[in-house]
Subunit: 270 residues, 2 copies
């Protein structure tokens, strides 16, 4: 494999995944991954541009940033690309009235959206709200539409909390896709539109940007599809088999964000 | 299209789906579909062989037969092919110890099976038991296995109860398949092994048998794949668009079981 110097040459902007890279979530707020608070601070003091690109759809962007700030991270709402606000914009543009299968914590992102007489379903990482009753309700809304529209905030398979692996929205998206015989529109990684909006907000071209994430498919594969480079951290939902993934090969594997930032500060933009 | 006489010539055995053909289920026992009680009785008085072939995995075979008998149907346990007893046999043969994601009502079918230290997951139509917590538990069992085995009792997309459409086990099977990156083994329609076991129990060859069901894919398509003929009834989960299905064309569409039996008694085995 090429040297780190070659692999990181010309990087001007860094997209950071949040869950599994900055911190491991849990019901009571989670814990920062060792070294990540300092790594973000060092990155932000450097000449590199930084943006956070999350698929978290359990919390509003404000709540997520508040939580991370309490953990000591230097982060503000305007630096975060998140699926719920992105979906809210799309709904407004297309005049869609969603039935929301989401957690209460993220409802505020849809405050401005008309949800009467729904003509689509928006599904997020609803956690405990993925009851049979709630799934069946969303299913029936879709089956009553002539052209069912299902918008999924990400399509992650699972993520890691301190208590263990947790099913993510992608599993439930697949359930509704199969039951209704439809294909969901994904707002979130690895959708190219989503990465491109994050790049635009950061003001960096794809070939000058690198994604750092714990998801070999959603983060690494998705970013590479957009022409970016991507590192996988061995934290969060990383599993050793990821390094032998049949389809996706990261531009590098690092133990954690701290190691990624060490390498970037040493080799990027040279 | 050929005449009914040509389409039904040489039929010696009839496989009957239960839910949506004999009765529409509901939480309080459901209601027989008009004419079906008499249709089953007429069929059983004829020279045709009859077997019931269900994907119902919510109830034990004994409970299902008890319910149908209370509705007036002439049916006994030995005439029913059902996925839970079929799966129970497979588990025994292969020495598999399942984690069961099923409703309490069907647990008795697995009485003889060791469920300690599970090395596979069996998923049935668990209804309200498809909570996030239960799904996550099954998911974690699979993720901890080196070669995860997921056995699904059917793969139906949805069925119809008197209260409306209900998500079926197939949707949740797809969720686990996607989350774990695996493929489930299906015990139930449209699995060819399942149809073949029903034919064997009836003592009729595929080309002499006809399936009557409300599911264009699971009943009609599955039976035709096995070399049987198949009629779709316009009851249960039937939707008008089924008659324009892109891949599956029934050998005939009838309003209900009563009409199917009229035609069979007139034209079969001639």
């Amino acid at each position: 494999m090429a040297s780190w110097g070659e692999r990181l040459a010309g990087v001007r902007g860094v997209l950071l995944d949040i869950s599994g890279v900055l911190y491991d979530g849990s019901e009571d707020g989670g814990v920062p991954i060792p070294g990540s608070v300092e790594a973000v601070a060092r990155l932000k003091r450097s000449q590199l541009k930084v943006r956070f690109c999350t698929n978290d759809s359990q919390k509003s962007r404000g709540d997520l940033v508040g939580l991370l700030r309490r953990h000591g991270f230097d982060i503000s709402e305007s630096e975060v690309t998140a699926p719920a606000p992105a979906a809210s914009l799309i709904l407004k543009e297309r005049g869609l009235r969603p039935h929301l299968l989401v957690q209460d914590g993220v409802l505020s992102e849809f405050d401005q959206i008309d949800t009467s007489n729904p003509n689509c379903v928006v599904i997020a990482d609803a956690g405990e709200s993925f009851s049979y009753q709630n799934m069946n309700k969303a299913f029936r809304v879709l089956m009553e539409l002539e052209s069912p529209v299902l918008i999924s905030l990400g399509k992650g398979r699972y993520y890691k909390e301190t208590s263990g692996l947790m099913l993510d929205v992608g599993a439930y998206m697949k359930a509704l896709e199969y039951a209704c015989g439809i294909k969901a529109e994904v707002v979130g990684k690895p959708s190219p539109e989503y990465f491109q909006s994050a790049l635009k907000e950061m003001g960096v071209e794809a070939h000058e940007a690198i994604m750092i994430g714990d998801d070999i498919v959603g983060d690494v594969g998705g970013a590479q599809q957009c022409g970016m480079r991507a590192l996988q951290v061995r934290t969060g939902k990383f599993r050793p088999s990821d390094e032998r993934h049949p389809d996706v090969k990261a531009d590098g594997y690092v133990d954690n964000l701290a190691e990624a930032v060490d390498l970037l500060l040493q080799h990027a933009d040279k």
